[in-house]
Point group: D2
Chain length 404, copies 4
């Protein structure tokens, strides 16, 4: 047992921290102004292009992808502390490093399951950061926590698939630069429960695709993820070789995609919580009320101590989960993936809430990043399955171990 990062990680951490200090943090105010003045609230701030170019130049690019052919070839345990650092500025840093959801998951799917043609057409420009992509799974009419009852149909018709259905929370689809959707639907409603679903690639400009509107997240667009769209598919026809892997593989691909997706979110949330704690401490040191800095108030001190205690615990569990994914695989790490999915958003939400409180009314406004970060953390208690579903599933395995 050893709690030190390895040399590769330490070296990359050093470079990434410098990149954050020299480029990302200074760009935050710039991006804020660019967005405030933008005609289209879904556009990404122009400063991001500069950040992406610089990150690529510095070799801080596609770090998320364990596949050394297409990505950086890091283990999950090596990537985790880097993702954490990007979580300190989640509106800019993940995208700057080409490590933003939903593209990361989509690239993983294409790298693992894509045909050569699909890789050439979609994976390559995604890896280059030229386009963005969307993931279309959730549907308004059915509980998103139970993936088997998806209603969208993907019907084979000659050399094509024809797609009909309505999706929402299609992450990425509001980005003007989004070029392709990965769409989950049913190819065979009569097959086994987990063999009915397939995934198909749909270019955004395919006739019959209507991006209806962006879903708000507590009033925010969540632009760094390319927003979350309601999308209607009305007799949308794509070539049959747009199918990802085979028919009936949709559920398995979704599962393969979710593990890394969940841990990436948790990694970043650790960094977000660290950022919140830092802002909380700074504000507490600077702000004076009733004649002394509010850092002297016992209640504020309690929040700070408790934040540190909670962050440390959550980080270790995230790191151990990464280690398990590396050593025994995603299935072997199932319990821990669920555990961090339950624990980390709640932890980050708690720390952010206290940081907001220390900032007074400013804390809920656009003048600090806290309210927006809170909205993201809160939303992650629902995204990729609500806490309650994860707790129920985790508990059932625990109970099974103690059955007579």
């Amino acid at each position: 047992m050893d709690f030190a990062y390895d040399a590769t990680t330490e070296e990359l951490r050093g470079r990434l921290l410098r990149f954050m200090d020299e480029h990302v943090h200074p760009a935050e105010a710039v991006a804020h102004e660019q967005l405030a003045g933008a005609a289209d609230e879904w556009t990404r701030p122009p400063v991001l292009a500069e950040l992406k170019a610089e990150a690529r130049r510095q070799g801080l690019w596609n770090l998320f992808l364990p596949d050394a052919e297409h990505g950086a070839g890091l283990t999950n345990l090596q990537y985790a502390p880097l993702a954490e650092i990007t979580g300190r500025s989640p509106q800019l840093a993940p995208e700057a490093l080409n490590c933003a959801a939903p593209d990361t998951g989509n690239m993983e799917v294409l790298a693992m399951f894509g045909t050569e043609r699909q890789k050439q057409r979609w994976l390559r420009p995604l890896l280059e950061g030229e386009i963005r992509s969307a993931f279309c799974m959730t549907e308004p009419e059915v509980a998103s926590s139970d993936a088997t009852n998806i209603a969208t149909s993907i019907r084979r018709d000659g050399d094509s698939y024809v797609i009909n259905g309505r999706k929402w929370w299609s992450t990425g689809a509001m980005d003007p630069n989004c070029a392709v959707f990965i769409v989950m639907g049913k190819t065979d409603p009569d097959a086994d429960r987990h063999r009915q679903q397939s995934m198909v690639l749909v270019p955004r400009d395919t006739p019959g695709v209507t991006v209806r509107r962006g879903m708000r997240v507590f009033g925010y667009t969540d632009g760094s993820h390319g927003g979350h769209a309601e999308v209607v598919f009305d007799d949308v026809r794509v070539p049959a070789d747009n199918l990802v892997a085979g028919e009936g593989e949709g559920f398995a691909i979704a599962q393969a995609r979710l593990g890394p997706g969940r841990i990436h979110h948790c990694m970043r949330l650790i960094g977000t919580a660290e950022r919140a704690l830092e802002l909380m401490c700074r504000r507490a040191n600077e702000r004076v009320a009733f004649g002394r800095p509010i850092a002297h108030q016992g209640v504020v001190q309690e929040w700070i101590a408790e934040s540190r205690v909670r962050i440390e615990q959550a980080r270790l569990l995230v790191l151990k989960t990464a280690w398990l994914m590396d050593t025994v695989g995603n299935k072997g790490a199932h319990t821990e993936i669920q555990a961090i999915k339950i624990a980390t958003p709640l932890m980050a939400e708690w720390v952010l809430d206290k940081a907001i409180q220390v900032h007074g009314a400013g804390g809920v406004s656009q003048d600090f990043p806290l309210a927006q970060l809170w909205a993201s953390a809160r939303t992650l208690r629902l995204a990729d399955g609500p806490d309650e579903v994860h707790r129920m599933s985790l508990a059932k395995r625990e109970l099974k171990r103690h059955r007579a």
Copy 2:
């Protein structure tokens, strides 16, 4: 001791509930669409004008004002259950009844402290619902929890007062219909600590007044309160008889204004929590996951029971506080006013959080009112003094009672 509402209250509750069912709730979707399509996000939805006309026709107007000359002449205890009902639709109902903050507090100030000229010019159109108003107290540079260190200056110069300073969270100032600001500043920085401040009426179109921008509340505009603006006062000159009461009375007026303001917020939050609980139950009954309505899930049932238990307790404390204000005055009800200011937003926030969770991703979006209501409840843990300041003050009085 008697826990039944009196006859006047029951009669008004019946009428108001009918008004909500027949007019307000049906208008919610209309207002939502009108706002979504509005060129200016600070405009109020046109349907409000209809609601106001109808409420006035039905005698459901200015219920908040205990002063029978100008308002409905209800006691706090009579008004509380009515304000609660308006809290079920807080984006529309309070304004429809001309009972929305910050106008309510401003009308109280004018009714209590205004000169005849001031009443004629400002109170009358406010009571008629023709204009709206703003309250400008908080400043960005100083802790808002400590009102004595306000920096804005109000300097006497001949027959005028000249105002210089910067405010933010000036509630009401973003409403296009806002015509007048009540501005708190210092007329005499050398006077006693609570005698330095004065309040002055500033027409919005006075030269030197710049409404810089609207502060966001978790991404929302908080339009039903007329938004919260950053306002700069640069050598703003108003006639000397725009002063409210006398020089040095600012702190006392602010205190007089806060008590009712706080309880009104709490009354409405009870109704908001009831609405959330109702939506939570409906959704739980309708939504099916893993083969049965989620109403069957033990965790959801626990949230529902706990919501009911918390709402009942908070409501009773709000009602008792109203009764104390009526019987022993605002000062005598000081502890209870602080207690409800601490307890009610936290309670409403908790219930809303659970209602959101039951609604899945939809809960954080614009498709349900929950996320926006949550943002309001959360903000009330800071508005009118953060929880921590109220707790500290309440504790000190409690400790004093037990000093040897």
Copy 3:
């Protein structure tokens, strides 16, 4: 709506508060020493006899019994604030006033359902405070939250009933002065689910009755309730006219007994919480750490404020529940009885936990009443049905109201 106590209540409160100050609180240390030196840990401290005589002399006797023939004839709403006061010293005061469980519930049962002979033989000496009694319902083998699956049999045999079974948590049975048990069992296992059970009076010295041992409550005996015994009934034969009401009435009697029993516990817990808050404040004022009284620490102030806020809310809900029981009956108050049963023990437990923390290590010891009071409050989250069962039941009614 009126939050003032009526004149009868105020007069009795005044007298009872004086009795507490003059007799009960001074007797606490005496009782503590008497118990510490007692040969039998289940004996009641001799000072109690003096307190009982004095309370009776002052007319502070059997206040709990609404039945004016046998008791004080107070409404629940009148009794609630008095029970609260006794909860400030729950080891002595309730028993001193002949208002201690389980005798209160047993006296209610006898007053409501007993025959003249039963009243003469058992109710009279209980009302006189000459004997104590036990209530035997819970069984070790079945979930106590589901009363219908009781296994003890009560079989008719000629002019007798013969009882066989094993009980635990038979409250009252460890008191050396306990003379009679009310035993719940099944007379007809084939009857309808709620008509199988009956209650029968069993003199403690009946052959076949074995009081095996006292159950501990976090290491305490809970002597003020007469302890909680494991009792074995082995062919115990009693005259047939020891049956309470008719065969098959057991479940209905148990239900009738539970409502008042639950609210009495809650009333007293309010007083217990007040006592804890008072001790917390005193200690905080007196104890110096790091150069200043710990009353100056923000965290301690937060606990004190939060305690006040929680106590006030719980008290009002208990009072409203009492009012409902008086005005619409126990059934009409069902939701509220469950609500206070959920809310009050949790509240008291929380306040006591903080009071303990303020007292340092002393808080968990026998030198302060806090740890023992905590154990009682904690146990009440299980007694008379665990919180979870009440929440589930309350939620189901709430959900029903919102079913389409």
Copy 4:
């Protein structure tokens, strides 16, 4: 970074787990009965002697002592998972392995600071498990969280030291086998704040030593720690060479003693929480209410999942703290030692509370170990400094890092 235990640890874990299964767990019921029937409630159950002999025979002895000359020579990181296992049966296992507080801390003190004579006379029999010892620091009159204001005097008089003072919570002193006390007092009240204190060895039978009484912990004796006594020192004279290290070293020794002491408690609490979770799962699987095992209830599942999530996080932080103590020393691990001292008792208390709730009334009684384990966990929120003091201290260091 590597989350696997090393080979030494794995081997010892295997042996210790077998020892628990074959010897300790079967002895639990035996010890329970022996204690229930014991004339003196402070006697240790005879079965312990057998367990100690067996543990020693198997080489599972003095594992806590990093010093290879006297102990097992394990690192903190190697000992942590073993201490965790003993925490599954904390009334027996730590003592069986000669790894119980306060002897562990006292042995460390003697091994590090004792003279040869002191080691020969006291350390040897302690290492052999022949005697037990007590640690006398806390005093009733002063806040135990602030060690500098101890009042007991240790006055040099010729070849002796003369001790006068009153202690309480002198852990270990109630064990009939306790032979020696380590007493903290002031040798020089005029020295620097942290140089006034010294420690001295006092044989228990020294004239002038009076063990007045055992402090209760929620009604329990806490016999496995040798109880906690109130002790009076009245002109107690011991030879001058009973001084530990030099005059003025008392504070430093106390600090050196506390770090390992705190982490040992936390390690064992992880095991206690695991035991509670196991009992909770078993009970939930077996107990039927309302027609199905309570394991099917969503609320119970939530507790189980949440327990697992919390235990995993706390364990990792304890392990990382052990690793830091090994690699950068106790001072370098200061923040983490505080963090686990804050987090672990709260976590264990929470898990135990839920396990109790699942066990119904039985959970608070002597029929399950849960209530007693809860009392220990709760007490550890006060022992060795209350949570609040640790949080305050931790927060101040965090705030310092972010000072401009």
